[in-house]
């Protein structure tokens, strides 16, 4: 049994112990008193059913008759209105973003290793949904490299392995199984049923597919399970995408050994990092923290830019502020070495992270090193959720 299981059991036992075994009598009494004075709410169909005379069968037939007549009237009305220029409404959830080529992932059918692995084209990237942005799950490149990030436990290092061409094909089969083409970007966000006031928070997952002529198609969705269809319109596309998501995020459970050209996981070595600088006025005690000015920062243009970001948010406001700078792997390594040398401990966080003191501004300054994945050219405009 691992540490997570232990904790889950402790938590479950504690909740069972905390749960009151009985509701006070007053709760049921008060509720039933209100129920006695309240009538039930019935929809128009139920009201019609309730009022129609005769047996259940004849009532059903009577109601069905009303529905058929209403449908016929509606059809006639549609024919009338269609003569005045109404055209069918396109699916509003699918954007008409142009794409360079209508052959998603076709380039992956021959994932021969390219000369320079850092420039191999993107086959697909799967991102998980979270409350505050998305998280990286899988990146597959044309040369068969697959980079995965696990979100189990407290540390989430990305690891790299390599698939065969057939292995990549198996992944693309999962995309085909959705019945969607991934030719252009599309968004399958939930649509509330008419008259229902429903909202939701957080970002859903996304699938980024590389197109053979260059460019990408991004498919995003938010799956809202609603078996009764009380709140949301049916979401067949989101449901299919969620099934694909479940398969791609559990590759080790079903991919055959033959799909792997190299199944040994190695730490992913990025070429660049996004270094997030977070200034937090409520970040805790400054007593044990090394001051920003006590670090012997290495000298380079990008480190200078990082220091500019630190200065920019120092004492900026009473709220948490965040800036970002892109560093090469070598610069990021040098900065981390300088931090360790100055006695700054790495924080308990899922990415390499260091906490410094900024006593003049009475705030904690945190540096978080986020590895940038191949074929991600978004720089500081992109990046994944830091709070997952």
């Amino acid at each position: 049994m691992n540490r997570n299981d232990d904790f889950d059991q402790t938590l479950s036992a504690w909740l069972r112990r905390e749960a009151p075994p009985q509701a006070p009598d007053r709760v049921l009494d008060a509720a039933l008193e209100r129920v006695a004075a309240q009538s039930q709410q019935r929809g128009w169909l139920q009201r019609l059913m309730g009022r129609a005379p005769g047996t259940t069968l004849t009532r059903v037939m009577a109601v069905a008759g009303v529905v058929v007549i209403a449908a016929l009237i509606g059809f006639e009305f549609y024919n009338l209105t269609s003569n005045v220029g109404n055209s069918p409404t396109p699916n509003p959830s699918v954007s008409a973003e142009p794409s360079a080529s209508p052959t998603p992932g076709a380039s992956a059918s021959s994932p021969e290793p390219s000369g320079d692995p850092s420039v191999a084209a993107l086959v697909l990237r799967l991102e998980g949904g979270a409350e505050d942005g998305r998280v990286h799950l899988i990146t597959v490149l044309e040369d068969g490299r697959i980079i995965t990030t696990s979100h189990q436990g407290t540390s989430h290092p990305a690891v790299e392995r390599r698939l065969t061409a057939a292995g990549v094909r198996l992944l693309l089969d999962e995309l085909d199984a959705t019945g969607l083409t991934f030719l252009t970007s599309a968004d399958y966000s939930p649509i509330a049923k008419p008259g229902v006031d429903a909202g939701y928070g957080g970002a859903g997952p996304a699938l980024v597919v590389g197109l053979s002529g260059g460019g990408t198609a991004v498919t995003s969705w938010v799956f809202m399970p609603d078996p009764e269809h009380l709140t949301w319109e049916p979401q067949p596309e989101a449901e299919a995408l969620e099934a694909m998501y479940a398969r791609l995020s559990t590759l080790d459970e079903w991919l055959p050994a033959s799909a792997w050209a190299d199944a040994d996981a190695r730490p992913y070595v990025p070429a660049q990092y996004r270094v997030h600088v977070i200034g937090n006025p409520w970040g805790g005690s400054l007593d044990d923290l090394v001051e920003v000015s006590e670090v012997s920062w290495p000298v380079s243009a990008s480190v200078t830019d990082l220091l500019d970001q630190i200065v920019a948010i120092s004492g900026e406001s009473d709220f948490t502020s965040q800036e970002c700078s892109v560093l090469s792997a070598a610069d990021a390594e040098n900065v981390q070495a300088a931090l360790v040398e100055a006695g700054v401990p790495a924080a308990d966080y899922f990415l390499p992270s260091y906490r410094l003191g900024d006593r003049d501004a009475a705030r904690v300054m945190e540096l978080v090193f986020e590895p940038i994945l191949p074929q991600d050219e978004t720089g500081c405009a992109g990046g994944y959720s830091l709070y997952f």
């Binding site: 997570n4 904790f7 889950d8 402790t10 938590l11 479950s12 504690w14 909740l15 069972r16 112990r17 905390e18 749960a19 009151p20 075994p21 009985q22 509701a23 006070p24 007053r26 709760v27 049921l28 008060a30 509720a31 039933l32 209100r34 129920v35 006695a36 309240q38 009538s39 039930q40 709410q41 019935r42 929809g43 139920q46 998980g128 949904g129 979270a130 409350e131 505050d132 979100h151 407290t154 429903a198 939701y200 928070g201 957080g202 859903g204 997952p205 938010v222 799956f223 809202m224 399970p225 609603d226 078996p227 009764e228 009380l230 709140t231 969620e242 308990d348 959720s385 709070y387 997952f388």
Partner: protein, 185 residues
């Protein structure tokens, strides 16, 4: 009479059947509301509201076998509304009852319980909700998503975040307890 029959009768307006149905579920509803809201008065109101709404909207439930899941969803919505209504009010400092004898608990288990209580109270109502549904009612994450009308990814993120926060609270308490012991030795 089995629950399904009671649901069918109540759905057709039988108040007696509904009273029996409500009596059979009220304890579980109240316990869940209490864990989520951590306040007797708010749990009272959320449970009462859930039962009244269940009566009012029962005709809209198409499948009587889904009554429990449907009712949970009503309860979670009622807790959410209750939380919003009381957001600006000062929290009531009611002592929570201890339902099991604490004799035999080790001091570290008691400390764990205190730390869990503190950590749990610091979580947002949304985070407490997913933990209660998942770890107390034993729902799968997909069922939690259905109950809370939240995307599956959001539910996963909330469980992850809440678990981390609680674990951190426990570890911090354990560290400070060790330091105290170290200091007095």
């Amino acid at each position: 009479m089995v629950q399904r029959e009671l649901v069918e009768l109540a759905r057709n307006g039988d108040r007696e059947a509904f009273s029996a149905l409500a009596a059979s579920v009220v304890d579980r509803l109240y316990a869940t509301a209490m864990l989520i809201l951590r306040d007797h008065s708010m749990a009272d109101d959320a449970t009462e509201e859930t039962i009244v709404l269940a009566w009012r909207d029962l005709p809209s439930l198409r499948d009587p076998d889904r009554f429990d899941a449907w009712l949970r969803r009503l309860l979670v919505n009622a807790c959410r509304d209750e939380g919003r209504r009381h957001r600006r009010r000062r929290p009531e400092m009611t002592l929570l009852p201890v339902h099991e004898p604490i004799i035999g608990d080790s001091s570290s288990a008691l400390a764990d319980r205190d730390a869990l209580e503190r950590g749990f109270r610091r979580l947002t109502a949304e985070h407490r909700t997913v933990l209660v549904l998942h770890h107390y009612l034993g729902l799968t994450l997909l069922e939690v998503a259905t109950t809370t009308s939240a995307p599956l990814g959001t539910v996963k993120s909330r469980v992850h975040h809440a678990t981390r926060a609680l674990r951190a609270a426990l570890e911090a308490d354990s560290r400070s307890a060790n330091m105290t012991r170290g200091g007095t030795a």
